[in-house]
Subunit: 322 residues, 2 copies
């Protein structure tokens, strides 16, 4: 996914976020500095900072005050990535070696914890009990989501609702909170804060569904990891859930997806079977439904230029341009 | 180490901390509830909550307001323990199976993160930017300490200063902060806050040195883990550092301690050699020096009954009663 020009209205601020992310690693331990910088330089779409900044910009052009919050939310996201890489034993993320593969499990766990603590330090500066409370609750929910994801692997009995609840915790919540807090620290009215929270939630759902689709259809170069990575790890996403119900190969698919060995050895066959069902189309349909709901929230927000950007980003992220 | 009667002045409040710790695990995910409750029920000395409460009690008899802070500090400590168990691959802690051994690495990492987020939520309630800032800085320092400890394993060239800097981050800082914050949220004067912070720091240093000694001299029943656990993992503590300099077997010891294989296979020999040097006495001497410094800080604090308790706890923890 490219389309970074969608973030043009906040490109200056995103550059400051980038500088601030690197500056946030303020330690005299060279190995921690290297590992954390590697994590940051590995990139990523910086979606959460972007949504903080865009949400803030709905309520005033100067969004300098939102930069520490934007950095903080990206750090929380990074902490969960570096811990996930330990847990999944991932060698590559976005096509680059993970902290885990270069420095090992121990340092990865500590780097994650360090980055998490740093994000707390940044949030503390706002002196807002409500903001910190939301961050704490969100962090706990993300943990719950990760545990749910872990326990749902190879579980072919899971349904649409299980999947949606899982991606809600895994992705939608942090994007919802990015939008919500971006508005909260910009003195937005409560109705606007709530509308942005809902916008972020629906958009996050659409985004994760699209991201899960990419694991079936994108090529390795775009994805930065091999096609079928989810399947190889037994992660059952929406296209698979559809295929498990509606594919002509449903029974065979269930047999394969419930076996860690089969998922590892026959990922390509499984991907082909799912592509052969209408699972991908169904997932795009679901993603679009969430995107539509996100767009409806935008109508409740101030009619300023940046609202149009949020509209275009929603179209892009939900795959409406595919 | 027993001596829990030393905490008599705050025994009611410590019971409330215990209840509060269990109540803090508020999740509808049974497996997370079980793992986190297991972690809490595995016990521990609750030193950090005790120091929060005792410090608060120096400035007024009613210390109800300090209970959430006390719970929060114990949760932070627990989060670091559960992550350490993943990293060390520990089967037992305090004689009981670890979360890692019962639920595996993935769930242990997430349980640690959940507990950390919960501690943040509790701290947020105080609406004190300074308190949250101190917690964030402390969390980062603890990570740095853990990384230092990890990199110092099997390193026989390390000296006294390396060791002291390591245990400072690993232990002394969180005890210092427990005392400091207990005073801060009790409207103590700044000079008292600073004296308590120094008290906790020196006491924490004494405590960790004594704890490191126990790995050589206590029996498994008291320790809840086999004697020589540190040595087996290549963790070089003060008695070993002394022996590496002054034992007649210094060269042989250096050869053994720098080899992971030898540490694992010949831990008993190594422990015997260190016991045979004056390393244990030297470490007790060092612990006592820190305890003396801690006691001097007490002179700067209000002359109330609980100060005498802090005095006796210091004597006990530093091993002055051994």
């Amino acid at each position: 996914m490219t389309g970074l020009d969608l973030f043009d209205p906040i490109s200056n601020e995103l550059n400051l976020v980038e500088t601030g992310l690197l500056a946030s690693i303020d330690t005299d331990l060279p190995v921690l500095e290297q590992a954390a910088s590697h994590l940051i330089k590995a990139g990523g779409k910086r979606l959460r900072p972007a949504f903080v900044l865009l949400s803030a910009k709905l309520f005033g052009d100067d969004v300098q005050h939102a930069i520490p919050l934007a950095i903080s939310l990206e750090l929380i996201h990074m902490a969960s990535l570096v811990h996930d890489d330990v847990i999944d034993n991932s060698e590559l993320r976005r096509g680059k070696p993970t902290v885990m593969s270069q420095w090992g499990n121990r340092l990865s766990i500590y780097t994650g914890n360090y980055v998490l603590a740093k994000s707390l330090a940044l949030i503390a500066e706002y002196q807002r009990r409500d903001v910190i409370g939301i961050m704490a609750d969100t962090s706990m929910s993300i943990c719950e989501g990760e545990i749910k994801q872990m326990r749902s692997c190879y579980d072919v009995s899971q349904g649409l609702k299980d999947y949606l609840r899982r991606i809600e915790r895994k992705t939608a919540l942090l994007i919802a909170v990015s939008c919500q807090l971006g508005a909260m620290i910009s003195q937005a009215a409560d109705e606007h804060v709530q509308a942005l929270k809902r916008f972020g939630y629906y958009l996050g759902m659409a985004f994760q569904i699209t991201d899960d689709i990419l694991d079936f259809v994108a090529d390795e170069e775009i994805l930065g990891k091999p096609v079928g990575s989810d399947i190889r790890q037994g992660v059952i996403t929406l296209p698979a859930i559809y295929a498990l119900r509606c594919s002509q190969h449903a029974d065979r698919l269930a047999g394969l997806l419930s076996s860690p060995r089969a998922c590892a050895d026959h990922a390509e066959d499984i991907v082909a079977m799912i592509n052969d069902s209408d699972g991908i189309d169904y997932a795009y349909y679901a993603s679009n439904r969430f995107a539509e709901r996100a767009l409806r929230q935008l109508d409740l927000l101030p009619d300023v230029a940046v609202r149009e950007s949020l509209h275009r980003i929603t179209d892009f992220i939900s795959g409406r341009e595919y």
